[in-house]
């Protein structure tokens, strides 16, 4: 009987704990909000003291949705911006470029993040595109691969399945393992557009499709016959980045436009409905402090 009582007690205790835990959580949030409003005055003072920030006494929430490729850079920028403007809360959700742009058109976010240029039907709906960084897409192969350079045309042929063996490119005689990304990926969209895959017949049925840059990298690093594409920031010693049309995959070449597989990271928004705090953030992303993060994550600075 003792054990039973003990168990009963334990169960009740757990339940109570659960309830109180949730209850107190609610209270905390409420309390937090109170302090926030209370200290609003203070913050204005502090912010004006802060020479780093030209955005005085900003408060509110900025909702950013869109490209997942910009996540690393954006999260760091948000972190720093929130440190300077403690009353501004920025929420970023990676939903993919197209979804982010659509959200901007529908007005359900403050800023849409895109890792591709806006299409005409998108700009025609009143969207402004504001680039805060550039990115290069690197073509990666296994480090043991002898191939060092590839042309856009050959890439299109590989991804559409017209070239299936490395020997056709001057490499060893083995089948090419083509690695691509999932259907809604912004990187895939940008890549396929840049190599004009559509004209070559679209993605081959033989291609492996994986979710995320990370899976491409693991896939390529683990298979000596494979080829894949990732954002510059994912280049590391486990894979080899090819030169494209003789141009090395690095920031300078991409910014100069010599490296053909590059794309902008931009915010899409309707200028007339841009909130002050969203505007401040867009401006902040172009400051040296913020641009340092672009570089830190292998992206390319805007100036």
């Amino acid at each position: 009987m003792k054990l039973k009582k003990l168990l009963a007690f334990g169960l009740i205790a757990t339940m109570t704990l659960a309830f109180t835990a949730c209850g107190s959580k609610g209270n905390d949030t409420a309390a937090d909000e109170e302090t926030k409003t209370e200290e609003q005055g203070n913050t204005t003072e502090e912010a004006s003291e802060d020479t780093n920030s030209d955005s005085e006494g900003l408060s509110g929430t900025v909702v950013i949705t869109g490209s997942t490729s910009v996540e690393k850079i954006l999260l760091d920028m948000i972190d720093e911006f929130q440190a300077i403007n403690p009353d501004v809360k920025i929420n970023y959700t990676g939903t993919g470029s197209s979804a982010g742009i659509q959200d901007a058109i529908d007005g359900v976010n403050s800023l849409g993040a895109s890792s591709r240029e806006l299409k005409e039907e998108e700009t025609s709906q009143g969207l402004t595109a504001d680039a805060f960084a550039y990115d290069g897409i690197a073509v990666v192969v296994h480090p043991s691969n002898e191939i060092a350079d590839i042309s856009l045309e050959d890439l299109a042929k590989i991804y559409s399945g017209q070239i299936t063996n490395w020997k056709d490119l001057g490499g060893k005689d083995s089948e090419i393992v083509v690695v691509s990304r999932e259907g809604a990926s912004g990187t895939r969209g940008a890549f396929e557009e840049l190599i004009k895959l559509e004209d070559a017949g679209g993605l081959s049925e033989g291609a492996t499709v994986v979710e995320g840059n990370g899976n491409v990298q693991t896939g390529v690093a683990g298979n000596e016959n494979s080829i894949g594409y990732v954002s510059f920031s994912f280049i590391d010693e486990t894979v080899k980045a090819l030169t494209v049309g003789g141009v090395e995959a690095n920031a300078e070449n991409a910014k100069a436009g010599d490296y053909k597989l590059s794309r902008p990271f931009l915010f899409a928004y309707k200028a007339e409905s841009l909130t002050p705090e969203a505007k401040a953030f867009v401006e902040f992303t172009k400051t040296d402090d913020a641009q340092a993060y672009v570089e830190a994550h292998g992206g390319i600075k805007i100036n």
């Binding site: 393992v177 259907g183 969209g189 679209g202 049925e205 492996t208 994986v210 899976n215 298979n223």
Partner: protein, 314 residues
């Protein structure tokens, strides 16, 4: 037994009714209310099933209805999935899912049954105490960990033996699914072996059969229905598994697999891979994929329920 209990309950009620009339009415109302609350809770499952079917089917069938609809025939028989160009064919995925499931059953069921036989009939008690927790752990490992294991161990291994240049394949999926359905098969089979009366074994041994013969000719046939439901449950688990297979299947955008070294794109991984970002027609088509998966699962479920009910009648 059930009926008996009800009779006693009723008797108790009438007894009490005679003893105290007045407070009984209030009590009866309270009891009725409480019972209704209990009933509502029990109905939660029914409501959930109906809601899931209604919403998933509603969203999944939208693209095939009304103006500008997509041909259902083209969807179900198509062998290419290219959302960018509005091409949504899932026949090759159905084939992939079915092949993967059959493969997992071919390997998983015999291995599972034999392991269950070992645990239930042969293993010394001490060893059972080590093997059983191991199998429970196997059952508890999250599927993403199986996926990581598949990426890190199975895919490179398959790559070594494959005539194709890569390891992501139907075979890799089958390997991982086999392991994942093992615990289900082992546990259910073991339980049904244990439920076989001792007299079966004694009779068989008494007739001069060896222990092994007894197991295979007397015990296992008697445990048939349990093994059958274990198999069906295994099929359900294999066809519904998502994360682990997604990481190792290769997920091509088209093409019916013709060998175990070919890549496949299971229905589940099609949904999970693109759902996060998809919108509009593309998203609806993923729900439509879910509808097809759901129909498979329903067939499996109903088969399973039929089997268990039959076993229960006996």
């Amino acid at each position: 037994m059930e009926n008996n209990k009800n009779v006693i309950d009723k008797q108790a009620h009438t007894d009490m009714a005679e003893v105290r009339m007045k407070p009984n009415r209030v009590r009866d109302i309270v009891e009725k209310i409480i019972e209704t609350i209990f009933l509502l809770c029990a109905m939660a499952s029914v409501i959930s099933v109906i809601a899931i079917i209604a919403f998933v089917f509603w969203k999944g069938l939208t693209p095939f209805l009304g103006d500008n609809s997509y041909s259902f025939g083209a969807f179900i028989t198509g062998t290419k999935w290219d959302p960018g160009n509005d091409i949504f064919g899932i026949f090759y995925m159905i084939v992939g899912s079915v092949f993967a499931t059959i493969g997992a059953i071919i390997f998983g069921v015999p291995i599972g049954i034999l392991t269950a036989v070992y645990i239930a009939e042969i293993a010394p008690k001490g060893l059972v105490k080590t093997i059983k927790p191991a199998i429970e752990l196997l059952a508890g490992i999250p599927s993403v960990i199986y996926g990581a294991f598949g990426v890190g161990v199975i895919v490179p291994l398959v790559n070594k033996i494959s005539p194709r240049p890569q390891g992501e394949s139907l075979l890799a999926v089958i390997c991982v699914l086999t392991v994942m359905i093992l615990p289900t098969i082992i546990n259910l089979t073991e339980a049904s072996i244990k439920a076989v009366p001792k007299s079966y074994r004694e009779a068989s041994l008494g007739l001069g059969a060896s222990k092994t013969q007894t197991i295979f000719q007397a015990v296992l046939p008697a445990a048939k229905s349990g093994i059958l439901s274990a198999t069906v449950l295994g099929i359900g688990r294999a066809i519904g598994e998502t994360m682990a297979v997604m990481m190792i299947a290769g997920n091509p955008i088209g093409g019916i697999p013709s060998s175990i070294f070919d890549k496949i794109r299971p229905l589940t991984s099609n949904i999970s891979m693109e759902m996060g970002y998809a919108s509009g027609r593309h998203q609806e088509m993923l729900f439509a994929t879910g509808v097809v998966l759901f129909i498979f699962i329903m067939v499996v479920n109903i088969t399973l329920i039929k089997i268990t009910n039959k076993a229960g009648e006996k």
